[in-house]
Symmetry: C2
Subunit: 155 residues, 2 copies
């Protein structure tokens, strides 16, 4: 199963939670953990990473905490994923060129690069704001991709 690591999954939930709070308000790791129902040490660890990657700004000391570094509209899904588990790439040769011995003779490589790009572009159309808005049918950019979301066939 192609999947995000649980850390990334949690991280996006945490970001969405912060995006749903008052704009610019800082919340401590403990608060966020309590309100999202996720284990506190994990939340702390994830928020630290997100701050280090520049998606959150941290305030130390009493009354400290974390807040979004930018507005939710300016934070894209690939950024969030990239911050927590590195750049998006389905194949190793996408992220680490030269690591694969078959790279020179591999005829599948170029198509995969394009496939990766399609996935990246698709995810790039979606912002944290789209995830944070609770209402249904909120993700507008999906339609702009020209993908018909009506016929949902199980893969």
């Amino acid at each position: 199963m192609i999947k995000l690591s649980r850390i990334t999954d949690y991280g996006i939930v945490l970001l969405a939670h912060l995006a749903g709070s008052k704009d610019g308000s800082t919340q401590s790791a403990r608060e966020v953990a309590r309100e999202t129902g996720l284990p506190a040490p994990v939340v702390s660890k994830i928020l630290k990473s997100l701050a280090r990657e520049g998606l959150l700004v941290s305030h130390r000391g009493a009354k400290g905490g974390y807040s979004l570094a930018r507005s939710p509209e300016e934070i894209s899904v690939p950024e969030m994923i990239g911050a927590l588990e590195g750049p998006i790439g389905l194949t190793q040769c996408t992220v680490h060129p030269g690591a694969c011995a078959q790279e020179a003779t591999c005829h599948v490589r170029e198509p995969w690069q394009q496939i990766n790009q399609v996935v990246r572009d698709a995810l790039g159309e979606i912002s944290l704001a789209d995830l944070a808005t609770p209402a249904a049918g909120s993700i507008v950019p999906l339609k702009s991709l020209g993908v018909d979301t009506a016929n949902l066939t199980e893969a």
Copy 2:
């Protein structure tokens, strides 16, 4: 990094290799291993899985081997991925509903379902034939997605 397992990666290379051979011709696991330069035991293991999942047909005994169960045009990327590492789903709740305790209160869930669908659709547009054709600029379906592949920005 969102990535396919190496097994899946190899598997797609193997499928593309078979697709590039004469139509309907069967090749033994050892042959495929030799011609692709991948370790023989691994190739054998992967081909077995692909046969079990119905993407390849196997012929036992002397002069046996594997051949594609369908034409390359009829085999999609999600099928290949699904056969080797299960259904495509970025989040656990996509594939295993109910496994996440926060599912009821999670506001991020529905958007993710749509995101998953976008990725699935994007991959579904690409067939094994697209991967197997060695020429550049071969992936036509990408354009049908409405994705502009011209401006490739690094994610």
